[in-house]
């Protein structure tokens, strides 16, 4: 409720500028870069629609932990890992198309629930520094993921397809071809506007997820989460099981991140077994922050604005780099820098604001 109440208060232009610094910066970067890139409108539209389709679900999965006051869920990578494990299995079983996606989603679910439960419980032991802990959990679990995929698959977990297993007899290859389900969701309902193909079915799923989030806010659990997010002690006194609520928020986020990863990879069409997941958390979080979200406040609007702006920058950066300095590599480094820079800036702004509010509260008391 913090967000809504503060919205009613009239704000000075300066405060408005600072609060929306990140999106404004991005609008400037894009406004400057689009003419320099020389891309046509229909190309950009196509690119943005496809990226909007494949990333929305992932970014939306971040919203629920923010509601519970746990900040950006860097542990969403865990869901991505669960999704990838499910995709490997489904590919090995020769299941294709939409059924393959549904099956992968179903398989990823128990794995995500377990990982989310684990992550949530660890985060409960690190209250006040959930983000850095979540970040390290994702690294830690990456080790476990490698142990499973690189050493256990093909030896303990049966994998029969020789296209998946490394020549040495165990471990999954660097890339897994998802030809069987490539764009099967995106092209389920074909539609073209202005020469750009629209992944209608994917957008429908995203819309359903948005509705679920809006509905979820009003449920008992959703209300509890917001109470926990505002003040854990007050929530506890009101009889809310704080720890349980926090764990649930992470579990929900992880499960949806798993689904999101499956949607993401069906669009890409190939799974980079050992690094598709590793940056997904970072890019999703950066996109959400670009949309004007902060660590304690994020809504659906932030998700879509963020993805559009962030991915516009991502698409044009290499070409702008080449046209401007004659080096595409430069643009690639630039977008990596901007991704990290945005997160840094948003985190700093959040901490500074939090400290200012704390001081104000102290002075008033």
């Amino acid at each position: 409720m913090r967000g809504e109440s503060s919205m009613n208060v009239k704000k000075s232009p300066k405060e408005l500028l600072i609060n929306n610094l990140v999106p404004i910066l991005f609008i400037l970067i894009c406004a400057f870069g689009i003419p320099l890139s020389g891309y046509s409108g229909s190309y950009l539209l196509n690119e943005i629609l496809s990226r909007l389709g494949r990333n929305s679900f992932l970014v939306l999965s971040l919203l629920i932990p923010v509601m519970a006051g746990m900040g950006m869920n860097f542990g969403m990578t865990l869901g991505a890992m669960a999704g990838q494990i499910a995709l490997i299995l489904v590919t090995d079983w020769n299941v294709v198309g939409i059924p393959a996606m549904v099956l992968a989603a179903l398989i990823s679910m128990p794995v995500s629930v377990f990982l989310g439960w684990l992550c949530g419980n660890i985060l409960n032991r690190a209250k006040g520094r959930e983000m850095v802990t979540g970040y390290i959990i994702s690294f830690f679990m990456n080790g476990v993921y490698q142990l499973v995929v690189l050493y256990m698959m093909g030896s303990i977990i049966p994998i029969s397809s020789s296209a998946l297993v490394l020549p040495r007899g165990y471990g999954i290859r660097n890339t897994v071809n998802l030809e069987g389900m490539r764009k099967s969701l995106d092209n389920l309902i074909p539609l073209n506007i202005f020469g750009a193909s629209v992944p209608v079915a994917t957008f429908i799923l995203v819309a359903i997820f948005c509705l679920i989030i809006i509905w979820f806010r009003r449920t008992k659990l959703g209300q509890d989460m917001r109470a926990v997010g505002q003040d854990m002690e007050v929530a506890r006194q009101a009889g809310i099981k704080v720890e349980r609520t926090r764990v649930l928020s992470i579990i929900i986020s992880t499960v949806f991140a798993g689904f999101g990863m499956i949607i993401y990879l069906q669009n890409i069409g190939t799974l980079n077994t050992y690094n598709s997941h590793s940056q997904i958390g970072m890019f999703s979080i950066a996109a959400l922050l670009v949309g004007g979200a902060s660590v304690d406040k994020a809504n659906i609007r932030n998700v879509f604005i963020g993805i559009i702006l962030f991915h516009l920058m991502f698409t044009i950066a290499p070409t702008v780099g080449r046209n401007l300095i004659g080096e595409a590599q430069l643009g690639e480094y630039f977008r990596v820098f901007v991704s990290y820079g945005v997160i840094t800036l948003a985190l700093v702004l959040y901490e500074v604001r939090k400290r200012r509010e704390q001081r104000k509260a102290l002075e008033e008391a």
Binding site: G128, V132, F139, G143, E351
Partner: protein, 352 residues
Amino acid sequence: MDTAVIKEKASQALKSFGLPRLIITLFLLLLFIIAPLANVNIASGVSDMLTRFGMNSILVLAMVPMVHSGCGLNFGIPLGIISGLLGATMTIEFGFTGFPSFLMAILFATPFAIILGAGYGLLLNKVKGGEMMIATYVGFSSVAFMCIMWLLLPYDNPTMVWGYAGTGLRTTISVEGAYLGVLDDFLRIEIGHLAIPTGTILFFALLALLMWLFLRTKTGTAMTAVGSNPVFATASGVSVDRMRTLSVIISTWLGAVGIIVYEQSFGFIQLYMGPFNMAMPAVSAILLGGASVNKASIANVVIGTLLFQGILTMTPSVMNGLIQMDISEVIRIIVSNGMILYALTRKQEASR
């Protein structure tokens, strides 16, 4: 009665030592015990361990000042590393060789470390309580920013720039002819398979001694006071922000020196994404040595680096010899991040 007391004491000892550290120590011992079975020479194992100890120990030492001043673990060490890389590339650019090139690298790196460290320290003062996450991302953004800079900066020494373009630094640059092995080969001891990089270890010992002395000076104790009890420190007239900034500068400078020492042993300067993953091993090493988010000593540095590098060097060779399966990379990831997780979730720190 007696058994209860013993049990109590044992559990307390275990608690202070920490279960993960116990497991890892035992694991390392086990590796050394079964090494002969795997046809691994213990002496060369120890040599590798010592070499890598020398390479990494200063980067681990860089964690100490910031932990003391209450800034937490310095996940932003890449910033210091970048200063070091600037120094290293400049000394080669200007054509220094031998031991002077090593000194000049440190000298060139120092102003960068001070300026970057000061800026970084001022930033961290604004975000008290959220240092570690922001430090991580400051590190990452600066690495990404420097990726752009390595391409653009006007270096033109042919040993460093891309041959065909004539501009833009290479991903890896050899330090041969400059300061390769200047410390490692100083007073080097070689007995059979056992080789000890005496110079590197002495250099670390010197810096560790200086750090130890510094922490006992007036400024050093004030720094520790700022970390352990900021309210008390302010009351006794110590400027919390100044102490914190100073600690960050020292940490950044040590990071710069650390990477130069690392390179003189490793043989190459790794630019671009090179410094990206350098923070985690250093952070986990000091934690493995028994440090926590707000407590760290020189002993933690030494023990931690030895244990961590020991695991890293022994696991692959022993595992390979025994089961022809190299899972050392996975073990490295799990051990190092598991250690950080353990430190972040320890109960006594939950209040901070």
